[in-house]
Amino acid sequence: MNIVKILLTDLAFYDPALPGWTQLLYNSGGSPIELEQIELLRNPGQAPEALQLDLDWGNFTDGVNAGCSIFGGDLPFAQTQKSIRIRYKIKTISIHEDIGEIETVSDDFFYQMINMAFGTDPVSGLPEHVDGGLLRADIELTCPAFSSDMLDIGKAHAHLANKANWKLLWENPIGDKGQIDADEVLLTSPVASVDPDHYGFKMIVQIAAALPVKIDGDHHLELKFIPNDGSDEYVIPASISTAAKITINKAFAENDVVYSAGSETKILVDFE
């Protein structure tokens, strides 16, 4: 069976002011109108098992017009609007040899959070001072979230709960940087947020990791998030630090020369 088109339909965004899902508007060159569909693919051919299709929310086609956008001065969203939640269904049009064109629409909604942003000073959790050794840190990141009104929370946050999608960049006082894997990631329940970066809801992503401290001085931590939109890893624009004061037990012999009448000696050792 040949796929003729793949479209996004039943498009809506979550408006926290309502609160609820509401129709997306867009601009196709004239006045803002309701966004009925986005054409992702128009390419007659055999149905592939998997596809990677790009969508630019600021430059897409509605099936008729190119250069469409959900961003604009007379639309609900400026290009700078953060953490927009969008949902849609996927419509597939394929050719059946006997019937002709058949449309199928996915039963389930699919979701995106675009322009995801984390707010001011989103990372915390390092102690002010630390001894040498291995610092077992519980880092906390304030993160925009889906609420239970939007969809099932477990389904919504599965990507964020996967520790493989978080990396820690740990920089020692001489500038050496190392990437450290998270040991565990836990998410708190979503709560309302007034920070425009969160666009309605936030939660805390708790990331446990073991950070090596081998040198005296300030150590800096950055967090990296790995999105699932096909883009590279993203360094969260926040850095926290801790000052290390390492106690070194340096031993020395109390007497420089030990004289002994026998073959057994006692050496008196002190520590600095």
């Binding site: 069976m1 796929i3 793949i6 992702l40 149905a47 592939p48 098992e49 998997a50 596809l51 990677q52 299709l53 790009d54 969508l55 630019d56 929310w57 600021g58 961003f71 290009q79 996927i90 597939t92 049009i93 394929s94 059946h96 006997d98 019937i99 002709g100 064109e101 058949i102 449309e103 199928t104 629409v105 996915s106 389930d108 699919f110 979701y111 995106q112 959070m113 675009i114 322009n115 995801m116 942003a117 889906f146 969809l151 389904k155 919504a156 946050h157 599965a158 990507h159 964020l160 998030f225 999105p227 699932n228 939109d229 096909g230 883009s231 993203y234």
Partner: protein, 81 residues
């Protein structure tokens, strides 16, 4: 008409402009036998339920799935007129 090698009868369009497909039924010896119509379709789904992006350009992982429907009663199909 033939559908997947089986005989089907297509009615005129219904009030909504969609074609109604009627699977063939036969009465043999006082008993009614249905000839079910099986249709294979392709539908698409997103590989992950939620995509997170720090920008506004997103690459969607789409998987194509086979869907099989079987009908013994009259039915319409989305988009078929």
């Amino acid at each position: 008409m033939l559908l997947n090698g089986r005989v089907a009868i297509a009615s005129k369009k219904n009030a909504n402009g969609l074609r109604v497909f009627i699977p063939l039924k036969m009465r043999i010896g006082g008993k009614i036998y249905s000839c079910p119509i099986r249709i294979r379709m392709t539908t698409c789904a997103q590989r992950e339920a939620v995509i997170y992006s720090t920008g506004s350009t997103v690459s969607l992982g789409i998987v194509a799935l086979d869907v099989h429907e079987e009908h013994t009663e009259p039915f319409v199909m989305q988009g078929v007129q």
